[in-house]
Every structure is written in structure tokens, then in C-alpha cells.
């Protein structure tokens, strides 16, 4: 029997760990996976694609709060019923009911609103030649889009952003020390969501939330109020910081490739979709997709024991030279295989069409209005693990007008 090449160990919890590093590239060259302190890291495109959709793997995050000392309370009760962690028939029934509300044809009418929002935010600082992009564009843009979709008063966006950030702490390793405020944020958002559902039941207005309130299905029943409220909190939890951080990462990625930024600016209609896909491919906010083996199985030469955690490295698989030419470069004209920045299988991101559409509008608006884009040296980044992004992203630019 041929000797298998050795797997390497990646210290993914170390503050200095970088996805975009020689160490990770070497590990990917050596083997399809690397060992980590939290299970295995899947590195190559072919293997990520196969394992992501494998029915032998579940999402595996239900245990997260308990693993970090939180076994009860409002956050835990909400978390255990979210689409993120549900599996099987219950997951499939709810997913089936909510999918159509997030389809391209439901989202298309929102494009004009996205455009007005993007232009309005750029207007606020374009004459200054500089801005702090994360707080002056990415956060209000991402949050106000969610407000539009759910029919929340846009003037409340700062409050919603703050509640979303607080619940987001539930995914951090400091969950236990923050649990009182996280629980309180869930209570506040629950009250918010209840009033939204009540108002749509009384007077539906054709928006996405009205669609969800009216959702009925002969075989699968309908969404209960509890399920709807859980979903609204999930959308706020999963839809704001992700988009905010992906916008910052995308702008940073394009600032390193001014030729592609200019190409996007010259033909935004033609290139905006490719710009989103390339930014998600080379710099995704979700650095890995987690899965857990539901049973022991054999994959290639390795036996994967039941309960093993797998981290499918998104940037690493989507810059695998075996699947992509000139993989680390954004190329708006290249034909690329699909990346896995939105996960995959039955847990594929629910809001990806919204995210794709609003990031496309944002990037094409920014490119057509700003040139000489530079990220300043004092940008602050979150750790390069789990979900990453910019704490602050000071940029300078020249206005095209």
C-alpha cells in the first residue's frame, strides 16, 4: 500500500494564524486536510465540494452554547430552534416554506431601493476624499437593507445594528461572560418581531415579511408565529454583520487590484455579478463552514469518526490551484467554478440572493464614483477565523465626478 503524505497541523485558534499564508498553502499542497485542535480542516476544492453536501455530515452547531457553558436562557432557547441548527424533517419543512420569499424574483423589485441607499451614503462623504468605510457605509447599508426587507423603520437602524452585534456575541468564545446582555437582546428583538408579525397579519403589504406571514402549504402546514419570530431574529443575526463585513473585505480586496476596479467602473452592468463572486471567492467573511460527522464513515483513505468536527476552509478551497487558474487574483473575465462562501447542501445560506444583489449594487456604485481607492494602514481587523471582517476600515480615494 502506498504511503500517504503526512498531514500538517494548523493552529487556527492562534491570534497570528492567517488563512492567506504559506503555511496554509503548504498544508493544501501536502494533503486534502490538515489537523487542528478542533477537528480537521478540509483544504482542497474537490473534497470541500463533496463533503459540504454529504448527507453523512450535519451542521453540528446545536451544541455550541453548551460547549461554552450556556445551557439555558433566551439565547439558547432561540438558538436550538433556528434553521441553522435544525436538521431533518423540521428543518426541511421550515426551509421549504421560507425559501420562495428569498428568490431572485422576490428580490428584484428591491434593487432601486439598494441603489438609492448606496448613493445616499456615498453622497455623505464623497467630497472628503476619505471615510471610515465600515461605519460610514457598510454598517448602515447592510442594516438598512434588512430594515427595508422586514418593514422596520429605517430610523431605527442603529438600534437594530446594536442588537444584532450583541446577539452576534453568542457565536464568540466569550459567550458565557456576555450571556446576560445577549439574552436581553433576544428579548428585545422578540418583542420587535412580535409587533412586526402582528402588523403584517392585520395589514399585509406585499413585502417579504407579509409573504412569510401568509405562507401556507397544504402538505407542510404553515409557519407558526414562534417559527416566524425565530426566523426574523435569525435574519437580523445572520444578515447584518455578514454583509457589513463582506463589503469591507471586498473593498479591501479590490483596493489591491486597481485594474479590476477600473474594469468594474467602466462596465458595471456587465461586471457587477462577477465582482461579487470574485470578492466572495478570494476573501469570504466565513473563513470556514463547520460540519459534524453524524456517523462514522470512510472518506478516501481516512476513517472519519462519528462526532468529528470538520472545518471546510472556504478561501483555501476557492483558491485551490487544482480548480482555479491564477487563483489568488480577482479576474472579472475568468470563468470560475462556484465557491462555497455561502456554504452548501440543505443548509446553503438562505439570504444569498439578497446578499449577492446588495453587494453587487454597492460595489458597482462605489467603483463608478470612487477611484484611486486605498485602505489606510490603521485598519483594524477581526481575528482571521470563523467569521472575520473589519472593525474599522479607513479608506482614501479620489471622486470621479
Amino acid at each position: 500500500m502506498a504511503t500517504q503524505p503526512a498531514t500538517l497541523h494548523l493552529d487556527i485558534s492562534n491570534a497570528h494564524f492567517r488563512m492567506d499564508s504559506e503555511q496554509v498553502r503548504k498544508a493544501r499542497d501536502a494533503h486534502w486536510y490538515a489537523r487542528t485542535d478542533w477537528g480537521i480542516a478540509v483544504l482542497r476544492y474537490e473534497d470541500s465540494s463533496a463533503l459540504l453536501k454529504s448527507p453523512l455530515l450535519t451542521q453540528g452547531s446545536a451544541k455550541w452554547p453548551a460547549q461554552h457553558g450556556v445551557v439555558e436562557g433566551h439565547f439558547d432557547e432561540w438558538w436550538q430552534k433556528t434553521l441553522l441548527v435544525l436538521e431533518g424533517d423540521e428543518h426541511n419543512r421550515i426551509r421549504r416554506l421560507v425559501n420562495p420569499a428569498f428568490s431572485p424574483r422576490r428580490i428584484a423589485p428591491l434593487h432601486a431601493k439598494f441603489q438609492a441607499l448606496a448613493d445616499g451614503l456615498v453622497d455623505e462623504w464623497i467630497d472628503d476624499g476619505r471615510t471610515e468605510f465600515a461605519s460610514q457605509f457598510a454598517a448602515p447599508y447592510a442594516t438598512r437593507i434588512l430594515c427595508v426587507m422586514l418593514g422596520i423603520d429605517e430610523n431605527d437602524w442603529k438600534k437594530i445594528h446594536e442588537l444584532a452585534s450583541t446577539i452576534g456575541l453568542g457565536l464568540g468564545i466569550t459567550i458565557q461572560e456576555n450571556i446576560a446582555r445577549i439574552d436581553q437582546a433576544v428579548v428585545e428583538l422578540t418583542e420587535y418581531a412580535e409587533s412586526l408579525v402582528r402588523s403584517r397579519r392585520e395589514s399585509p403589504n406585499g413585502d417579504i415579511l407579509s409573504t412569510l406571514v401568509e405562507t401556507r402549504d397544504e402538505d407542510a402546514g404553515k409557519l407558526s408565529d414562534e417559527e416566524l419570530i425565530n426566523l426574523i431574529i435569525l435574519l437580523i443575526f445572520a444578515g447584518i454583520d455578514t454583509t457589513r463585513n463582506q463589503l469591507a473585505l471586498s473593498v479591501e480586496a479590490f483596493s489591491k487590484q486597481p485594474d479590476q476596479w477600473e474594469k468594474l467602473a467602466s462596465e458595471p452592468e456587465r461586471y457587477s455579478a462577477a465582482a461579487v463572486e470574485e470578492a466572495l471567492r478570494v476573501d469570504p467573511i466565513g473563513r470556514w463552514i463547520s460540519r459534524e460527522a453524524a456517523e462514522t464513515f470512510q472518506y478516501k483513505e481516512r476513517t472519519i469518526e462519528k462526532g468529528t468536527t470538520l472545518h471546510l476552509f472556504t478561501m483555501t478551497s476557492a483558491t485551490d490551484p487544482a480548480a482555479f487558474d491564477n487563483p489568488d487574483r480577482i479576474d472579472l473575465d475568468a470563468e470560475r467554478s462556484p465557491h462555497f462562501a455561502f456554504g452548501g447542501g440543505l443548509h446553503h445560506c438562505l439570504g444569498h440572493f439578497v446578499a449577492r444583489a446588495d453587494i453587487a449594487v454597492a460595489l458597482s456604485t462605489l467603483a463608478t464614483r470612487l477611484t484611486d481607492l486605498r485602505v489606510e494602514e490603521d485598519a483594524e481587523w477581526l481575528p482571521d477565523s470563523g467569521n472575520t471582517g473589519a472593525v474599522s476600515l479607513p479608506i482614501t480615494f479620489t471622486s470621479r465626478s
Binding site: 453536501k53 421549504r96 420562495p100 428568490s103 455561502f342 452548501g344 446553503h348 444569498h352
Partner: protein, 65 residues
């Protein structure tokens, strides 16, 4: 009425099989299999499957026999 799945685009995520389980299925290897023809009464489920496909790989031909 008839559906076609673009097999180059399809990534076998399986969301169509949640929306319209009578017409779409992932086989034991996780690969999509589907029935090309369907009746009017299944139109809603098929439309949901089309809407839900992350790759937008399903195309419907209403006029096909």
C-alpha cells in the same frame, strides 16, 4: 409541462428536493435525479424548486408536452 436542469450549473445542494420531493431527489451518491415532466397540480411545488435553486439551474417549459 417539462423541466430541464442545467447539469453544468447544478451543484447537487438538494434544495429542489425539499421543495418538490416527488420530482427531485438526491441519489445515494448525492447526485440529483429528477423527472422531466409534471402535471399542472404540481406547478406550485415546481416553481418553489426553481425559486429555491441556489444556482438557478432549473428551467421550466410550460408548453412542452
Amino acid at each position: 409541462m417539462k423541466i430541464t436542469v442545467d447539469e453544468v450549473k447544478c451543484q447537487n445542494h438538494g434544495l429542489c428536493a425539499i421543495s418538490a420531493p416527488d420530482h427531485f431527489e438526491l441519489d445515494a451518491d448525492g447526485k440529483l435525479t429528477y423527472q422531466e415532466t409534471f402535471d399542472e397540480e404540481n406547478l406550485d411545488a415546481i416553481e418553489d424548486a426553481i425559486d429555491s435553486c441556489p444556482l438557478q439551474a432549473i428551467v421550466m417549459d410550460r408548453d412542452a408536452a
